[in-house]
């Protein structure tokens, strides 16, 4: 059991536990906090896989922006209370069944797939440092890159439009 493996298992445990608790907890704010912990653990995974840039970006975008959005929305709607009605029992049972089914199917697919090669490439070449990533992004993937910026612009405009309060016309 090498150190890396231990770290991996620890991080996985944190990820799965926090994800599960996100869903399970009654208070939305608690869910949000657990989700932040989950994101941090995933960033840890990225770091483990030597994707430093992605780890940082992940923390900034997800924990820093998206979760802040979530928290603000929760507070805006004053959902601090734990007053949610549960779904009917049948539905909850169905959800559990589907969950297990999906799990089973996916895992069985992966188990039945072709044997994974045990030889891992290790050319030593740098393929994912921020320098290389920048080059790949702006050479081969330039058009999607630009489109992504347009997408974000559009999303921003859309959000502003959607959440504008309507003016009273009878004034």
């Amino acid at each position: 059991m090498s150190t890396v493996l231990i770290i991996f298992f620890v991080l996985s445990a944190i990820t799965l536990a926090s994800a599960f608790l996100t869903i399970y907890s009654k208070n939305p704010i608690h869910s949000a906090i657990y989700l932040v912990i989950c994101f941090f653990s995933i960033a840890g995974h990225y770091l483990l896989l030597n994707a430093q840039f992605l780890a940082i970006v992940h923390i900034i975008v997800y924990s820093g922006a998206i979760m802040i959005l979530f928290l603000f929305t929760i507070m805006l709607m004053n959902l601090n209370k734990e007053d949610e009605v549960h779904k009917p029992r049948v539905t909850r049972l169905g959800a559990i069944v589907l969950f297990t089914l999906m799990c089973a199917i996916l895992i069985s697919i992966f188990i039945n797939s072709k044997p994974i090669s045990d030889i891992y490439d290790n050319s030593g070449e740098d393929y994912q440092s921020i320098k290389v990533l920048g080059k790949v992004l702006l050479n081969e993937y330039m058009v999607p890159f630009e489109f992504a910026s347009v997408l974000l612009l559009v999303a921003m405009i859309g959000t502003v439009l959607l959440s504008k309060k309507e003016e009273n016309k009878t004034k």
């Binding site: 493996l5 991996f8 996985s12 990820t15 799965l16 994800a19 599960f20 996100t22 869903i23 939305p28 869910s31 995933i42 990225y46 896989l49 030597n50 994707a51 840039f53 992605l54 970006v57 992940h58 975008v61 997800y62 922006a65 998206i66 959005l69 979530f70 929305t73 929760i74 805006l76 709607m77 959902l79 949610e84 779904k87 539905t91 909850r92 169905g94 959800a95 559990i96 589907l98 969950f99 999906m102 799990c103 996916l106 992966f110 891992y120 490439d121 290790n122 050319s123 070449e125 994912q128 990533l133 790949v136 993937y141 992504a148 997408l151 974000l152 999303a155 859309g158 959000t159 959607l162």
Partner: protein
């Protein structure tokens, strides 16, 4: 530098990603609060991102990470717009229980 996957093994990452994804699905089906549903969707997206990065390391190729990059951008945009819609719904309906959003009945 040794490939870290030699020590961990790619199938572990696959299982982790799968289970995380299924937890996300479970959350989508199980909860009635729209915010929690959203969060579950984020979990699903993250599971996929994790798998991409793992395979990028497996193939020693940057393309996986590029896709994660874009996936994050899209997720951010989606969350923004989705929450804006949610806020509108809350303003109109007074609650974000998805069982109350039944007006498109067939």
């Amino acid at each position: 530098m040794q490939n870290v996957l030699e020590q961990i093994g790619i199938q572990n990452y696959i299982f982790l990603s799968t289970i995380l994804f299924c937890i996300g699905i479970f959350g989508v089906l199980y909860r009635r609060n729209a915010i929690i549903v959203f969060m579950s969707i984020e979990i699903m997206l993250n599971a996929v991102n994790l798998l991409f990065v793992a395979f990028s390391t497996y193939h020693q190729d940057a393309q996986g990470q590029v896709f994660v990059f874009f996936s994050m951008a899209v997720a951010a945009a989606e969350v923004a717009v989705g929450l804006a819609i949610l806020v509108s719904v809350f303003r109109n309906l007074g609650s974000i229980d998805i069982a109350k959003l039944k007006k498109l009945k067939g």
